[in-house]
Amino acid sequence: MMHSRRRGGAYWLQLALALLVCLFMVVPVVLSVLAGLTNNIFIGVASGLTTRWLAEVWSLYRNTIFLSLGIALACLACTLALGVPAAYYMALRRGRVTRLIEELLMLPVAVPGLATALGLILLYGGWQAFRTSWVFILVGHVLFTLPFMVRSVLAIMSAIDIRTLEDAAASLGATRVQRFFTVVLPNCRQGILAGALMVVTLSVGEFNLTWMLHTPTTQTLPVGLADSYASMRLEIGSAYTIVFFFMIIPLLVLMQAASALGARARRHRPPADDAVAESLAGADPLPASEARHA
């Protein structure tokens, strides 16, 4: 519904507020990008633009970039292996037990990362080989991102009515495992893709758990960022932030494209189908806005 016919003072006031909020969101980003490319931020942009801070970040922190990418991919592999079968189970067995499992799996997102990390350290911290390896960080990331994969896949399974597909395949004699790999997985591609993008994005940016779980030899990108903000000159911190932006922007663009694709696919389904899917669903994908570790 558009009410553009009558643009009174209220319209302009609200527009001003919307623009102000946009500025609030964007100005610091622009400032930090500028600071990362400026010779001397104390003098200002007048001191000339340079890429030497980026080069410095590369020589100081490039290991953190690779470690973050590695952990994000490993985390993706783990959430795929653990989450997709779990979602399959939940889609077929909707009941009180499933509800409980779903609620439990959500806990690491609801409980602050600091608490989860403390628990992990107190229980496993004495096991040195584990404590000092990057796998320790991976465990935290898997806990935090698993619900996003599960919910994303579960939502698509409910929407396409996986039970009917399953029953059809079963009546033709396909075994459970055959059905999972040849019927369920191909039909859930969209949910898996959306979940995967979310998992990688969250893992690359995870800080609260990671800061507690990391050791000097296992620094991820956000940990390195915190370190550079605390101990390096402003330009280096800013240049490092540019690197982070460069890593997440493609992920966000892909996520947007994937969700647009999903929306179009949903629109092409007959409406009667939708009603059935809705009633069967009981599951929504977990949006990025629910990733509540800041």
Binding site: A18, I41, L82, R292, H293
Partner: protein, 271 residues
Amino acid sequence: MKKPFPLLLFALPALIVFVAFFCLPMAKLLAISIAGKDGASVYWTVLSSQRYLHSLLVTVLLSAAVTLATLVIAGITGTFLERNAVPGKALLVAMLTFPLAFPGVVIGFMVIMLGGRNGLLAMAGDWLAGERWTFAYGLTGLFVGYLYFSIPRVILTVMAAVAKLDASLEEAARSLGAGRWRVVRDVMLPALMPAMISSGAICFATSMGAFGTAFTLATQLDVLPLTIYNEFTNYANFGMAAALSVLLGTVTWALLALARWFSGDAVAATA
């Protein structure tokens, strides 16, 4: 016929990992919190000691203030953007939601860019009055930072909820002579309430547990996540750190569960 592959085996790996790396650590956390000389009354100590109570109060009040401010700002902006054909709307929405993916540390740095020693405000102050104004390193900085990460989350939810509003109800109210405010108060707000409550709860819980933002701005600020961190790393007071973590975790989880129960499960994930 072969024995069928039990369905439960599909969920088993996830459950094992979950129990081993979440349930057991949480149980350990609880056990350590009551293992000190005070036993379970450590929780009473928290609620009666000046220091921890202050930290708890500051955290709750700050989070409540941020939630309230966010709901007002994001409520108006989200409704406006959803209802009006603003030129360049897609770009505006993209700008508003881009910071969703920022970790707390980066958000802290954004606040430093605005209100730090070499931030925008400091430069403006230098130019206008010859003194460098800063707000980043105190509670104001935290407030601005929490606002920064809360607004995008709430705006998305509000926009989705407004899109589902039945505009004919507003038309009806208007045709019956209701003014703009009455339509907002009596028709739109009640319909938006579930979305507001659930996104407000998310916003409050995020603010309560926000560690990265606070950590970047000032490690000595008196908010709960930093208190826990300092107890653990600086004072090696594991029992107290564990007790405070259990408290924080319980509060945020209960709040979110309550909001979800109150507003219906579906609403919590409409964005």
